[in-house]
Symmetry: C2
Subunit: 407 residues, 2 copies
Amino acid sequence: MKAKILREYAKLIAQKGVNIQKGQEVWITASLDQPNFVEMLVKECYALGAKKVVVDWVCDKLTVLDSKYMTQEALNEMPNWQIEKMKYQAEVLPARIYLDSDDPDGMKYARQDKLANERIAKYAIRKPYIDAMDNKYQWCIAAVAGRDWAKKVFPGESPAKAVEKLWEAILYTSRAQSTPIENWNKHNKDLHAKCDYLNSLGLKYLQYSASNGTNLRVELLENANFLAGSEKSLQGIEFNPNIPSEEVFTTPKAGAAEGIVYSTKPLSYQGALIENFYVKFEGGKVSEVHAEKNEELLRQMVSMDDGAKMLGECALVPYDSPINNSGILFYNTLFDENASCHLALGRGFSNCIKDFDKYTQEDFDKMGVNTSMIHVDFMIGDSTLDIVGETKDGRKIQIFKDGNWAF
Amino acid sequence: MKAKILREYAKLIAQKGVNIQKGQEVWITASLDQPNFVEMLVKECYALGAKKVVVDWVCDKLTVLDSKYMTQEALNEMPNWQIEKMKYQAEVLPARIYLDSDDPDGMKYARQDKLANERIAKYAIRKPYIDAMDNKYQWCIAAVAGRDWAKKVFPGESPAKAVEKLWEAILYTSRAQSTPIENWNKHNKDLHAKCDYLNSLGLKYLQYSASNGTNLRVELLENANFLAGSEKSLQGIEFNPNIPSEEVFTTPKAGAAEGIVYSTKPLSYQGALIENFYVKFEGGKVSEVHAEKNEELLRQMVSMDDGAKMLGECALVPYDSPINNSGILFYNTLFDENASCHLALGRGFSNCIKDFDKYTQEDFDKMGVNTSMIHVDFMIGDSTLDIVGETKDGRKIQIFKDGNWAF
C-alpha cells in the first residue's frame, strides 16, 4: 500500500478517531508486526500536538506461552506498578488507540481456561479504574493489515499479495481510500440522522425474527438513545470509537430479553472461532447455548460473570452494507460486526443514556445498563431478518425488513 | 540460521547467561524485529522453571520521534507507575536479559541533547533502585542479528544474506555454533585462570603505551580483583553478564589516571559513531577530548556528570582474539569491546572489590569505585599496545606485549 494513502489513514485515526487535543497524552496498543504504520501514526499524533505518545506492544504468541507455562497463581498476580499504571491513566485521561492486526487463530493454542480465570481475578482490581475513566477519554479501534490475519482472509494468495488485498479491504470499508476526513464528516451526518429518527419513536421493545429460527424480544431502556458514528466524551470532545463503523446501536435493559437467536457468522473470541451457534434467553439471561464448533469456549464466555449472561448492546446494520457487500469474511469483530446486525453479551454503554454526565456508575447499574468484564459482539443479521419496534403504548413500527432498514 | 542452532543459543543465554533459578521472574528487553528469537528464548526460560517472563519491547525509531517532538519537560517526567516498576524489580530481583539487535545508526537523527538531559533528570530518580539491585541479580547482554545492523556490518550483501552472515558471526564469536554450554564451561575456566594469575601479582598501576601516541598511567584499587567470564551474584548464583566475553577487567581507582589515550575503533554511542578520538586525563579526570567525527557528542558524554570524566573499567583483551581475527567491525560495543583492550568512562564495578558483599554503596564510593549515570567502553588496543603492571613496591611486570598477553 502506498505510503501516502497510509499516512492519510493514520491522520484519520489521530484526528477523527481519537481527535487528539493539544497537550494530551496518547497511548497506542499495537502488535509487534506493525512498526512502520505505528511510526506513521505516532508522527501524526505529535503533529496534532500530543504531549507524549506511549506504545504498548503486544504479542499473542507470548501470551500463549504465558498461558501454558505460568501457574494460575502467577497469572492472576497484578503487581503494584500495573495498578499505578491504571491509576495514572485514570488521572491523565490519555487518548487511546487500539490497532488491531491480530491473527484470528493466534490464540488457538492458548490455555483459555487459565486466561479466563486470570481475567476474572484481574477484573476485580481493574474495575474501579475502568469505571473512573468511563466516557472521560477518547478512544478508537482501527485495523492494520497483519500478515497472518491477511493469510487467513485470503488463503489463496501469496503473503505479500494477501497483505495488499487486506489493506485494500480495510481502507475501502474504513472509507479511507481517498479524502477520508471528508468521507467521515458525511458518514457521521448520515448516521446521526438515523439515530435522530429512531430516538424520536420512543421504542420500548425490539422484536427480532428470521428464517433461521431467530425469535427474540429485547426490552430497551426508556432513557437510552440510539448512537452511531462519532460520540462525545464528557469533556465534549467528539471522537469515533470504531473505524470502520456502520452500526446504529443502543444499550438494552440488562436481564430483559426472551427467546432464541441464531448466529449468522463465526465469532472470533480469544483467538478461536465459535461457529454456528445459538443463544437462548429465559428471564433475561442466557439459559442455553449450543455451538457446532468451540461450544465449550462459548459456555466459558457466558460464565465469566453474571453480566456475561445478559445483553449489553443491540446494533442495527443493514445487510446491504459496504462490508457485507465486499463479500469478505474478516474473522475480526471490528469488521464483521459492521456487516451485520448484532447483539453483545456483557458490558453495556452508559453513554447511551440521555444526559449520562448527570449519573454515577451506581445509577447506571440501577437503570439496567449491564455491567460485566466482557463485551462480546455476535452476528445475527441475514437477508431475512425482520425487526419490529414496539412503543410503550403498543404501536408497532417496522425497523428492518429483509435484512435492511425499513425506513 | 537453523532453528535448532538458535534454540541452543537461546538455551545458552537462559542457562549460562542468566542461569534462571526455579520460580524466578525473567525480564527481557528486546527490539521489535526479533519476535521469533524472543519466543524461543521465552520458551527456554519457562523450561528452566521461570515463574513469569516479561518482555519490554523497545523501538529506536519511536525514541527518535519522542526526542524530536516531546518537550524537554515532558521527556524528563517520570510518572509514578514507572518508579513503582523499578521498586518492584528491586524487590523481586528478576533475571534480566538484554537482547541487542539495534541498528548502529538507529539514533542518528535523534535529538541527543534532549535525550542526554532526560537521562540526567531521570538518573536522580533511578539511582536508589540501581544501587539497591547492584550485584543482587543475574543479568546478561547477548546479541541477535537485526536486519539494519546486518546491513551496516555487511553492506555489500542482500538483506537476507547479511542477516545470515551476522548470525554466523554472532554465533562464532559467542562460541555457540555447537555444544555452547560445554564451550562456555571451558572458556570460563581459562578466563578464571588468567584472573587468578593477575590477582596474585598485587598490581598498583597499569602503564599503557602504543605507537599511536597512547601513554597512560592508571592507578588500580588495592582491594580490587580482576574478573572475567562468569560472575556470582550476592546470592551466590553464577551468571555470564556478556555473551560473548573475552575480556579480563577490573575497576580502577576513580580520579587517578594521567596521560593520553587514543581510540583504535569507532565508538557507537547513543546510536551515533564517534571516530578517531583521543581522551586526555589530568589529575585523574578528562581534561581534553578530540574526535574527527562527532566530537560534540563525545564532549556531551564526558559532561553527563562528574563520574563521566573518570575511568570505571580497565579491560584486557588480546589483539589476537576470535572477534578481532574475524576481521569484522560490528559497530556494537558487546562485540567490539571483546576484540580489543578498552577502558570505560563512568560507573565502575563494585563486584570487583574483594568481599564486596561486606560493603555498602557508601563504602564503594569512598574506596574509589567510580559512580556515574554512564558506563561507556572505548577501544584502545592495537598490535603495538604494551601494558606494564607495577606493584606497590615498584616491581614491573609485562602484562601485554605487542597487543597480546605477555604471559
